[in-house]
Amino acid sequence: MSSKRTVQFKIYRYDPDKDAAPYMQDISVELEESDKKLLDALVRLKAKDDSLSFRRSCREGVCGSDAMNINGKNGLACLTSMDDIAQPITLRPLPGLPVIRDVIVDMTQFFKQYHSIKPYLINNEPAPERERLQSPEDRDELNGLYECILCACCSTSCPSFWWNPDKFVGPAGLLAAYRFLADTRDQATSERLDNLEDPYRLFRCHSIMNCVDVCPKHLNPTKAIGKIKDMMVRRAV
């Protein structure tokens, strides 16, 4: 790793308290050798200009706070290496959601869609004294589904979600829907499918696969959506 170096940024700035309109700010910062990720650089930048606003928490890719649009592609700042990133580093808020300030977006619509699929286990049998049994193979069906961190990189890279954020559940919500459909302990399969049987909620996915391309956890919402569509077809025949 090289020692001290200066990097150039172009950052979307907007403070509704003082700015009439958003603008792109050109700014540079000198990094220390220990600044390996984009988030490290942003923290360094904030020490220089404390008005730069962004969400961040775990800095290891598991809390989902620091999603933003990085050189045109959605990703997490904490998992983006400073070694292989083109300059000037252009940072914008996640596309398609209202901007609150700088790269902080209003995620209300995103969570509304997540909540709409009833993201909790439904099993109306009386709870047994011990754990419900599940075979390792059945448990493996949840791999690639439960790891979602709700960062919204996927849904905000999806043209169908941009056009119909109020009607199309979006990749993150649909991944969660399939996570419960795939769980052998869940008993609400037909209720869950009914909930998605609609021209928009599920079927606005046109397999563009931007979601797969940007997911920082390497999950595959398109595949999960395909499986839900299969379940719809199977129950129709």
């Binding site: 404390d50 809390c63 286990l121 754990e131 419900r132 049994l133 448990r139």
Partner: protein, 597 residues
């Protein structure tokens, strides 16, 4: 400034594991509850827990709560309260099974039960052999747990105030707690949350140290608020340094790696833990392993060009095991250490991880303070659970997987206590004092107008460097003494921090300045309590404590088998007895003994 007032039956501050578990209890009982959280619930730091949650289910190896209790008391170096520990280990199976019923995707054994793995300090038959007690969802247990708890709260229609930062605790002249003030981050508006019951579940404060596994948000907000409002802090000298943080980055590598067979090696490739803990070796208690690692490094057997770390080796495990049981660790190693652990060992170093002390509570989750000669009198209307609280189940050193258990058991217990106090009519809405928000408004006004002050990040860094240097894995009498002077100087500087950003909207400069006020309380409590405790116990080890028959490992039970209480006002210390008597007649007290692994 006009201050809006909202009224609830209960307000919970924090939406990590403890806050969400408590919220569930309240929502399901129909109490009008507000959960305040400065981050969206699933971004809370519980999400980063990896290796598992302890419960003596005995799914893979024979186990029972008696053994779990013994391990926890011994792990605490006898500073844990045995009534609370008995309560926690007895409740473990129940709260873990409940989580499974909520939908938590635990890994499974071949016969379909919850998968369990060995973990540090957990044993069969009172210290004899390692036991599989850690219930795990791969190496993402905290993530799976936090999401399952959030999802269950969605089902229960819990009312969240997301991205609201609690600022100050409201107490009346009698000391009763009446709620909190909080700032909505999107607008900068301050509101009063007036409630019959207030539960703090604000997590830890690991960001007082320079090198920490903790998230940026772990700034001890509840602990700081409590201290400023006159509540003493218990046992703050005890901080856990996790043996395996990624060298340089600080990111956590779970002890579950060693549970799955990982081995720590020094520069010559030696499995050095065999020398320090012949019985449990790499799975000895965390304080023991961290000290052994630092000793190896200090004696010149560290790895790398700077000889400043050791190696965590799992290259002997099959790629299948690593990908199935430790997939997150593999990703973290590649991301933050530049190493694929299938092919090469991971560079690791002890890193600040967990606050054993906190707001003093009993096992019901009630906050307790000394009053009229009784050391444990409940504060009316005030409850706490999880890392911000000190029940005390971890004493001087916490066992891995007992933190997730702590937040489930005591989050639920605090919720149950509030519900039963509410239903019995004990909880009433007491009148707010005049100008209940004045303290908070003054803090904001100061930041508005402060000039010629230092920047927040400068003062924070000074605090972190001081803590790291003066109150680390090994502690030295002279360094602690100097550390007290230095941290009090830093605390003075923190009173005059200055921010350039004056926006009302999502002003993170202001948030960080408010967080620093909380961190500073924790840092002072830690340094002052550590300087005063003239013995070695658990994670607190100092050079002037002698290992002899009377004080085994430097532990001085005659003079120091007691809890520290630090008061912010006057920067003064008090002490209270450790509860050595278990809760019930089901078990004898675990007798004091020299701690070896």
């Amino acid at each position: 400034m006009k201050v809006a007032k909202r009224t609830f039956d209960a307000v919970i501050v924090g939406a990590g594991g403890a806050g969400l578990r408590a919220a569930l209890q309240l929502s399901e009982a129909g109490l009008k509850t507000a959960v305040l959280t400065k981050v969206f619930p699933t971004r809370s730091h519980t999400v980063a827990a990896q290796g598992g949650v302890a419960a003596s289910l005995g799914n893979s190896t024979e186990d029972n709560w008696h053994w779990h209790m013994y391990d926890t008391v011994k792990g605490s170096d006898w500073l844990g309260d045995q009534d609370a520990i008995e309560f926690m280990v007895k409740k473990a199976n129940e709260v873990v099974v409940e989580l499974e019923h909520y939908g938590m995707p635990f890994d499974r054994t071949d016969n379909g039960k919850i998968y369990q793995r060995p973990f540090g300090g957990h044993s069969q038959n009172y210290g004899q052999t390692p036991v599989s007690r850690s219930c795990a969802a791969a190496d993402r247990t905290g993530h799976a747990m936090l999401h399952a708890l959030y999802q269950r709260n969605v089902r229960a229609n819990t009312q969240f105030f997301v991205e609201w930062m609690a600022m100050d605790l409201i107490r009346n002249a009698d000391g009763d707690v009446l709620g909190v003030t909080a700032m909505e981050m999107e607008t900068g508006e301050v509101s009063i949350f007036h409630a019959k019951a207030t539960i703090f579940a604000t997590g830890g404060s690991g960001r007082i140290y320079y090198s920490s596994t903790n998230a940026f948000i772990n700034t001890g907000d509840g602990v700081g608020m409590a201290a400023r409002a006159g509540i003493p802090l218990e046992d703050m000298e005890f901080w856990q340094f996790h043996p395996t943080g990624v060298a340089g980055a600080g990111v956590l590598i779970t002890e579950g790696v060693r549970g799955e067979g990982g081995i720590l090696r020094n520069a010559s490739g030696e499995r050095f833990m065999e020398r320090y803990a012949p019985n449990l070796k790499d799975l000895a208690s965390r304080d023991v392993v961290s000290r052994s690692m630092v000793t190896e490094i200090n004696e010149g057997r560290g790895c790398g060009s700077e000889k400043d770390h050791v190696l965590l080796d799992i290259t002997h495990l099959s790629p299948e095991t690593i990908n199935k049981r430790l997939p997150g660790i593999r990703e973290i190693s590649i991301q933050f250490a530049g190493v694929d652990p299938i092919k090469a060992p991971i560079p690791v170093v002890p890193t600040c991880h967990y606050q054993m002390g906190g707001i003093p509570t009993n096992y019901k989750g009630q906050v307790v303070v000394p009053k009229d000669g009784n050391p444990n009198v409940p504060v009316a209307g005030f409850y706490a659970a999880g890392e911000c609280a000190c029940a005390s189940v971890h004493g001087a050193n916490r066992l891995g997987t007992n933190s997730l258990l702590d937040l489930l058991v005591f989050g639920k217990a605090a919720g149950e206590t509030v519900v039963s106090d509410f239903q019995s009519g004990q909880l009433t809405l007491k009148p707010l004092p005049e100008n209940a928000a004045d303290v908070s408004l003054a803090r904001i006004a100061r930041l508005e107008t402060q000039t010629n002050g230092e920047e927040v990040h400068e003062v924070r860094l000074a605090m972190q460097r001081t803590m790291q240097k003066h109150a680390g894995v090994f502690r030295f009498a002279d360094m602690l003494k100097e550390g007290v002077t230095k941290i009090l100087e830093v605390a003075e500087r923190a009173k005059h921090t200055q921010i350039k950003d004056k926006s009302k909207v999502w002003n993170t400069a202001r948030t960080e300045a408010l967080e620093l006020d909380n961190l500073i309380e924790v840092a002072k409590a830690t340094m002052v309590s550590a300087e005063a405790r003239k013995e070695s116990r658990g994670a607190h080890v100092r050079d002037d404590a002698i290992d002899c028959a009377e004080t085994p490992n430097g532990r001085d039970d005659k003079n120091w088998l007691k809890h520290t209480l630090w008061y912010s006002e006057g920067n003064r210390l008090d002490y209270k007895p450790v509860t050595l008597q278990p809760m019930s007649a089901d078990v004898e007290p675990i007798a004091l003994a020299k701690r070896t692994y």
